[in-house]
Symmetry: C2
Subunit: 332 residues, 2 copies
Amino acid sequence: MSIKAPYLLFLGDAADALAAKVAQGIVDWRPQNCVGQLRLANCNADCGLTDQTVEEAVAAGAQTLVIGVANRGGVIADSWIEVLMSALDQGLDIAAGLHNRLSDVPELAAKAAALGRTLHDVRHPSESFSVGSGIKRSGKRILPVGTDCSCGKMYTALALEKAMHDRGADADFRATGQTGILICGSGVSIDAVVSDFISGATESLAPEAAADHWDIIEGQGSLFHPSFAGVTTGLIHGAQADYLVLCHEPTRTHMRGVPHYPIPQIKDCMEACLQTARLTNPDVKFAGLSINTKALNEEDALALLAELEAEYGLPAVDPFRTGVDKLIDALL
Amino acid sequence: MSIKAPYLLFLGDAADALAAKVAQGIVDWRPQNCVGQLRLANCNADCGLTDQTVEEAVAAGAQTLVIGVANRGGVIADSWIEVLMSALDQGLDIAAGLHNRLSDVPELAAKAAALGRTLHDVRHPSESFSVGSGIKRSGKRILPVGTDCSCGKMYTALALEKAMHDRGADADFRATGQTGILICGSGVSIDAVVSDFISGATESLAPEAAADHWDIIEGQGSLFHPSFAGVTTGLIHGAQADYLVLCHEPTRTHMRGVPHYPIPQIKDCMEACLQTARLTNPDVKFAGLSINTKALNEEDALALLAELEAEYGLPAVDPFRTGVDKLIDALL
């Protein structure tokens, strides 16, 4: 799946900035791929791009309208249809990471087929995959792993890619979730793959590469999450990472979505991840820790990072607060 | 998914007995569900049932024609279509566990729809599942786990169910693969579920039950298999087993399908399975070991079982050679 850039970002009727976080992620990490934003009358989000109509976006070179807003339930709202139909009419593809499929809306499907436009439902993989082989691939791979879901794995991976590019290294972010796919324009929504093919799909996502090429694979879930650890396991096996980065949110008290499950200790999580990852790469090691310290003040955050560095003998960063240079120093 | 019994077993043009092993499994474990077998002219398998035409099977009370043969590639052979169409015409549903779907054969799909028959493609789950909650469920659960794929997990589970019934215990085999589903008439092909729902589908398969009810859940794959360990992980988490049974084939030198991966040590496999299973049931323990000693002579087989019993302090059986009474003694 490869989405044609540049994009018109559709913010729809986003209730607040958080509802448009997919669009904001694209602006933050791929600003060069964005020509403008389209907001409906009752939109409360603003990604700081030029407001455009579909016509203006097409004139500015847009190739795809990307739905960068999530509403309750992840559905395609009736109020969006007029804009989406107009986008197809005027030559744009459409990409979305919603639960509902664009291709299941009959009028969108019919118009896209008639005009030869592509509807990218990035949450629903359309490729078929092979089962994982476990055969060692050339090139280098990094995989962020986490004590929980939604604790900074995608952000860490994107920050590592950017920092590697800044140092002139050959590196690719490999998206495994819908937001990551919309940000970088390709990837596989790994939790939507049939379970027999989790490791195989991951292998195909980060294929053999030159010896000095880095693939930075977006992590998913946690080995300690009772809902999603199967996905995490297959992803770790398919990734064959040379380096893991432990991601953690230090103020969270329980696993996301399952209040009866406490957050594991960092040490236990690192041990379990290494044990799992060694099956397909016996030489795997941790490059460092990436801590989401947003909920801490500067003093507490820096103290925590120093404490973790002393405890684990590895660099500890917050990609947002401190940047990831310490990790890059250790990796390159 | 629930398949109406009794069955007419379709052996088609099975090249040899092994090609009809699904049919043989149904005869072995659910003889009361079989009214007869239907073989084409060039069939080299025989499950020991009365040979019947579709007409004769219907007269004998058959409700479903079950395709009990697998040919190369798992496809629906052209030579089968005439019989399958006739079965639909005469009132039977059809069930199959093939890669290809019955419902993707246009003439079968059309006739089934016209006549109100059901086509059960048991390898392709049609239900939708919730993500796993990890919430403890009442009742007792047993899960066979293995050092590899295809080392006796289904056979062990079915043998445990039968032995529990023989002792008057309330027990259900819960199928997680296509052969198991065809044998017991219901279940979920867990490796075909979208990966987000592995543990959730398993939870729904073995729901809350009376305190003295046993669910014996069919195991899948291995935590040490680089292709399928994600499935195994989600299955272990969803099962919330009280007891695991370690399944092993002692003469195998490498993991099935991946000759570059050696079989893990039994001890390492047991430790990894316990560590994984403790996430959703901290009290999980091994009930014993189930060794497929088919490739050994009687003396070597019994010596190996004795050796393993001494090493692990747990009963070790071969369900086929020795029966599972020792395991049942430990469980009940």
